[in-house]
Structure formats: structure tokens, C-alpha cells
Symmetry: C2
């Protein structure tokens, strides 16, 4: 029996740079996990290819998939659906390959509910680190703006709660290195490898 | 307030090469955690230095420390005590530095009981991987020897249960790289970093 792959989920607040980090990650020569392409009902933009950037489908097809329980997670933004088809993810995991999803926070929480054994990585906005300095360095006339931004930031950070790791997106290459390290060390988790060792020795306990 | 450091414990079956891996690890230029030197009542061997290889103390001193609850863990082998003094570990953790212990499995379980938030790494003997091949490749006249070795191996692997990670000691440099990766990604655990982010933003919830 092939050992089932590991599900890796990258998520984070809107605008944090998830797509940029994901693209840089998959440009690395030693990345050996599979990117799961999302499905959407929005029209392809210039240069976007079906089956590369997204699977582009009609609203009817997408809603049919939701109805049949064929989406691992999905959401609707401004009249368009975005989501992850379940079949591809399951087939890839069953073949023993690790699968990587880059999705919005609501979607990540749907995946967490169904696949708690996955590895959930939260990408943290770099400008949070500068907020405190700005607070100190600037005049009081901007306090309203600052307080609003702080409030948003606290809300974003609290989204971390349901993730395993927080990776700061200060530089794309740092985030990529950290995500690669996380995947490598998750593969060494005793809960993942002990059954392999025991079955190798002929002990199924 | 300084954030308390992380406790990293390297352990594994007797003879697996823990000491060799630990020495190679601390020869790396980028290792920034602190090795906690063990205490023992055995006599120094040629070239061993007090405060470098071990803290060498008398049996009476060691037993006094046990009595006063000043040992994080300890064991007795062939009439000699070996253990980890609690004070040094706590002072270093309180200063914000991560502390690395290289200890026997019984000691590691004592530490796990007291410090469940530590990172526990089990070093796995490389020859386990060859056992199955040997089983297939050799004649039945050696079955008794092989079965005994398998039995021991299964027992060793089952020790993994109470650890977080299993690192195969196939090559010392691989084990060192994996341990460094584990420490790096453990530092990104949400449970460890979320309080920092929130307190940075002035939110103590």
C-alpha cells in the first residue's frame, strides 16, 4: 500500500502575497509536492491558461460540483466562485504525493475541518512589524488611521489561531525557504513516519 | 519581558550516535542555541574537560542535587550518575535562548513529563533500513540472529512514540541538517509566535 501524501495549505489575509510566494516556491528546483490548481467561474484574464492558472468552468458546472460534494473548499467573491476540486487532491494524495493548496482563509478553515492532519501555514503581512514604529514616529493627527490599521492587523493576526505555522512575508525568498523547511520537518513527524518503520520491520502494532 | 527560550531534546537508542551528531551540530556556524552540559559522577577520561564535556562531581554532590530537586533528569549506569542540572537550563531559557539537551531515552521521558512544550527529536539507527534486505538476502541458518535483531529494532522504534520527530542517522550531515530545519520550523509554530505578534500590536488577548 502506498503511503498517503501530506496536505499543505498556504493561506493568509487578502493582499499578503500568497500567489507571489506560491509561484516563487514552485520555481524552486527541489520542490517535490504538487500544486493543486483552483477552479473558478470568473473569466480568464489576459495570458491566463485553463489548467495552469485555474480550471475555468461555468457557474452551472461549479454549482453542480458543490451540490455533489465534489469541492474540498469554495467561496463566492463578487458573483464568482473560487474553490478546490476534491477529486484531484484525493487522487494525488492517494498516489503518495504531497499536495499544496494556496487559498483564502475561509477556504483554509473548511479544509482544516475536513483534514485536520494537514499542515496549515499562515502567511503574515510584513507591514505589521512596522506598525509600532509608525505609531511612535508619527504625529497624533493620524491616530484615527493608525488605530483603524492596528484594529485590522489584530484581526488578521488572530486568524493565525487555527494554523500550525506563521511565516512572515518580509521577503519572498525568506518565506519560500521557511515553507520548504516546514514541509521537510513535517515529513519527519513521528506520527507520520512511525507506521512506516514498524511495517518495514513486519510489525503492524 | 523576554520571551522564554525553547527546549530541544535529542535522544535515541544507545549506540545510535547521539554524541557524534550533537558535536557536528555545534560545529555548524549558524547554530544559535545553547548546549546544556551534562553532569556525571564518573571520572574524566583522557582529554575530557570539566565544564566542556561534562560537569564532573562527586557522588555525594550529585545525590544532594537529586534530593533537592535540582536535576531536570538523571539516571544511574554502572554505579555512576549522569544527568542535567536544572538551574543552568532554566537560567538559559529565561534569558530567551534555546537550550539543547543530548540525553538517554529514560532521561528524555523525564524531561517530557516536566516540559511537554519542548521539541523532542528521536535519532533512528541507520541499520534498521538494512534489516529487511538482510532478511531477504541471507540463508535461514541465521534466522535466530535476525529475529533477535528485529525484535530489538522494533523495541527501539517503539521508543519513538513519545517524541515529536524521528531523524534517521544515515549520515551525520543529513541528521544535522534535519535537526537544524526542525528547530527553525518549530520557531514558526503559531503557538510560539502568536503571543509576540499580539503583544507587539498592544493586544494582550
Amino acid at each position: 500500500m502506498v503511503k498517503r501524501g501530506m496536505l499543505i495549505v498556504l493561506s493568509g489575509p487578502s493582499g499578503v502575497g500568497k500567489g507571489t510566494v506560491r509561484k516563487a516556491l514552485f520555481n524552486e528546483p527541489d520542490v517535490d509536492f504538487q500544486y493543486s490548481i483552483s477552479m473558478t467561474t470568473r473569466k480568464p484574464r489576459d495570458g491566463e491558461k485553463n489548467g495552469v492558472d485555474y480550471f475555468f468552468v461555468s457557474k452551472e458546472e461549479f454549482e453542480e460540483k458543490i451540490k455533489n460534494g465534489e469541492m474540498l473548499e469554495y467561496a463566492k467573491y463578487v458573483d464568482n466562485y473560487y474553490g478546490t476540486p476534491l477529486e484531484y487532491v484525493n487522487q494525488t494524495l492517494d498516489s503518495g504525493r504531497d499536495v499544496f493548496l494556496e487559498i483564502e482563509v475561509n477556504g483554509a478553515m473548511q479544509v482544516r475541518a475536513n483534514s485536520p492532519e494537514g499542515v496549515f501555514v499562515f502567511l503574515t503581512p510584513p507591514d505589521l512589524l512596522e506598525l509600532r514604529n509608525r505609531l511612535i514616529g508619527r504625529g497624533t493627527d493620524e491616530m484615527d488611521v493608525i488605530n483603524k490599521r492596528i484594529h485590522t492587523a489584530v484581526g488578521e493576526i488572530k486568524m493565525m489561531r487555527n494554523y500550525d505555522y506563521a511565516v512572515l512575508n518580509d521577503k519572498v525568498e525568506n518565506a519560500v525557504t521557511n515553507i520548504k523547511n516546514i514541509v521537510r520537518s513535517e515529513r519527519l513527524k513521528v506520527t507520520r513516519v512511525m507506521p512506516d518503520y514498524l511495517s518495514m520491520l513486519g510489525d503492524e502494532d
